[in-house]
């Protein structure tokens, strides 16, 4: 049985294409059942996120199965295959395993190391399990992918640093204030970046938000959005001392906050630290403000610098993660190969034969008055017993041919008779989650 992957991602397709082939998470039953109903396809999991749409499946016929999955993606979304084809990639066997392990470990993400993808794959797998489109191989495969992702997360620092400006701002604030839950964020002016950063702070959990704007109505509107308090722009310096984290992005052509005012503000708040993030171009805050004790000023460029160096660090960590993935592929691939019917029958037969030989030798070596043809007859007798016992499982395996149940039987046989299976240390029952 082979694992194949067909799909497209942010690396091969623009968002216009990706949204056309996306599957709605509320209606996964239909596509999943259609995929497993395809000839040659035995199991399937569909992963659909805003950055990728992928089908993981098992098949006997790699070329045929891959072609059918591609055709399915086009047909299901009523698209011409010729249009879709150039954006699609496909992997099989080791490459497919590598791909899924890398995706789950967030090595294939747009922002390497971002944590959402693992949860998204878990959800997708949940649908496949619910609608029974995944079986013994994909079950084990995805659980393995989850544990690889977990290993990558704990053994490397791939996800430990902020790689967006907004997150970097939150991380920095934590290094200054420790706990943010009793801190107040103030927005001066408005702007996409400013609001995004404010949202990140709110999600992290801050005490409150204050909003000020040159036009008071604007401030009121934005304050409502953030469940905050509007402040009149003229009162800025009467209120500024109440804010711990200040996000500033006004369209003012000159500095709004200068050292002279800040000296007074910091005194009023008894020198408690303040963290300024100046997002405006031209800048709102005089860089000399950074020279005041307990005031920390960062501009967008500074934050970008933080993000870039974090990205560099992630690259180093990603190399370590790739090594982990390679290690795990080998192990899983061995297990997968062991599910083949013929080698299993041979192994089973050898096991029985071993036992028969051993027991026979034991009897013969102590049996003194053995009749002349005794040995021959005993040989025949024991061989017949073994053959009789082996006949039903062997023929059943050959009969059911190649399908989901065969894998189940093969796996069971290997476990029951202790036939050596690579990766046995990760038996189904031991898998977490």
């Amino acid at each position: 049985m082979n694992i194949i992957v067909v799909g497209l991602s942010h690396k091969t397709a623009t968002v216009e294409i990706r949204e056309k082939v996306a599957f709605s998470p509320t209606q996964m039953e239909k596509p999943l059942q259609q995929v497993v109903a395809l000839p040659d396809i035995t199991e399937a999991v569909i992963v659909s996120t805003c950055n990728r749409v992928e089908i993981y499946a098992t098949t006997r016929d790699i070329a045929g199965g891959t072609a059918r999955l591609k055709r399915f993606l086009a047909d299901y979304h009523h698209l011409a295959l010729e249009m879709l084809e150039p954006h699609l990639y496909s992997y099989h066997e080791e490459a497919a395993i590598r791909h899924v392990f890398r995706v789950a470990s967030s090595l294939d993400s747009m922002v390497v190391g971002e944590p959402q993808i693992l949860g998204q794959i878990k959800t997708s797998y949940g649908y496949a399990a619910e609608y029974k489109s995944s079986g013994i191989i994909l079950n084990r495969f995805l659980h393995k992918a989850f544990s690889v992702a977990k290993r990558v997360r704990t053994e490397t620092k791939i996800a430990s640093s902020a790689v967006s400006v907004a997150f970097a701002a939150v991380e920095l604030a934590k290094k200054i204030f420790g706990d943010l839950s009793d801190k107040t964020v103030m927005l001066i002016g408005a702007g996409e970046m400013c609001e995004l950063a404010a949202k990140h702070f709110i999600n992290t959990g801050v005490n409150g938000v204050m909003v000020t704007n040159r036009t008071y109505e604007r401030a009121v509107k934005l304050a409502e959005e953030f469940d905050g308090k509007p402040v009149n722009f003229e009162d800025l310096f009467d209120q500024l001392h109440k804010a711990d984290i200040i996000l500033s992005s006004t369209g003012a052509p000159h500095f709004i906050i200068k050292p002279k005012e800040m000296e007074e503000v910091i005194r009023r708040r008894r020198h408690k630290p303040m963290f300024f993030i100046d997002i405006a171009v031209p800048r709102d805050i005089d860089p000399k403000v950074n020279g005041i004790e307990n005031v920390f000023l960062y501009t967008v460029d500074d934050l970008n610098g933080v993000v870039e160096s974090n990205l560099e660090q992630r690259k180093v960590e990603a190399a370590k993660a790739e090594a982990i993935v390679e290690q795990e592929i080998g192990q899983f691939f061995k297990w997968l190969s062991s599910l083949e019917v013929t080698p299993t029958i041979v192994a089973l037969r050898n096991r029985f034969e071993e036992v028969r030989k051993a027991e026979l030798d034991k009897t013969l070596s102590t049996w003194k008055e053995l009749p002349p043809d005794g040995q021959k007859r005993l040989e025949a007798l024991t061989a017949a017993i073994v053959n009789k016992l082996l006949h039903p499982p062997t023929s059943l395996l050959k009969q059911t041919g190649q399908g989901n149940r065969t894998d189940l039987y093969v796996d069971a046989l290997r476990s029951l008779y202790g036939l050596e299976t690579a990766g046995q240390d990760h038996g189904m029952l031991e898998l977490e989650e």
Binding site: K174, K175, P273, N294
Partner: protein
């Protein structure tokens, strides 16, 4: 037996310090907990050493420089372990254990023999006065470590040098909090130590205060920390300013402890 405990402690402190310093470069959890175990074991053998010596001498063993340095180190490690439980901050060890190790090391430079105690000094005040003084010293020692960490961290934040060290050090708020806590514990301890000393001096020497160099410098130390505490409570001195004052205060404290004994002759210069 006594020497065995002593050198065992010294060895354990050495290994713990190395572990804590390596942790600063390679922060691995296993290393952190190993360091914690080693320093805790060292603390136990150190207690054993001190108690054994107490039994042998028949009084609190802080009557010569060998014992004093060792006791300072003991108090520092003890307080560090307590802070570590509260803040779960392994890196604090990277800044505090070296100090404990140095104190222990310096202790070996002085003769370890137990000299008979001046009968006038035989009093329960010996225990109170010295123990409180050294617990106070230890508190300020921790504040010193946290202050150095604060200065490094705030320097990196101000200059946007957000490297590996920045990641490892805790938030400015945590460090300032440690500094404040040390001050609120250390200052009363130092105050009581001075008061206990005065009472003891009255019974032993017949006068509460004799402007002995140790007394004078203790008072100077006390004033520095009093100023810091006052500044913190009234005008909101914090952060860098508090950190710098903690470092200055600790340097004066070290002079009060070592310099006075070695350089300025007086009633307290037990050697």
């Amino acid at each position: 037996m006594n020497a065995l405990f002593f050198y065992l402690t010294l060895g354990l402190y050495f290994v713990a310090t190395v572990a804590y310093l390596v942790y600063l470069v390679k922060p691995q959890q296993a290393l952190g907990s190993a360091a914690r175990w080693i320093i805790s074991t060292g603390f136990l053998t150190h207690c054993a050493f001190t108690f054994d010596r107490y039994l042998e001498a028949g009084h609190t063993p802080i009557t010569n420089l060998h014992e004093s340095f060792s006791f300072f180190s003991l108090a520092l490690v003890g307080i560090f372990i307590a802070f570590d439980r509260r803040y779960k901050l392994v890196v604090l060890g990277s800044f505090v254990t070296p100090l404990a190790l140095v104190l222990m090391g310096v202790s070996t430079l002085f003769p370890a023999n137990i000299a008979p105690l001046n009968p006038a000094l035989k009093s329960k005040w010996l225990f109170f006065h010295t123990t409180m003084a050294f617990l106070g010293y230890a508190m300020f020692g921790i504040a010193f470590g946290a202050a150095i960490m604060y200065l490094i961290q705030s320097h990196m934040l101000k200059n946007r040098k957000l490297g590996a060290m920045f990641q490892r050090l805790p938030s400015l708020d945590t460090l300032d909090d440690i500094n404040y806590r040390c001050l609120t514990f250390g200052f009363p301890l130092l105050t009581f130590a001075i008061i206990a000393g005065a009472i003891w001096a009255e019974t032993a020497w017949g006068t509460y205060w004799s402007w002995d160099p140790k007394e004078t410098w203790s008072l100077i130390t006390w004033f520095v920390y009093a100023a810091l505490l006052h500044g913190r409570l009234t005008t909101g001195w914090r952060g860098r300013k508090a950190a710098i004052l903690s470092i200055v205060g600790f340097c004066i404290l070290l002079f009060t402890f070592i310099g006075v004994n070695l350089l300025l002759p007086g009633l307290h210069s037990y050697k």
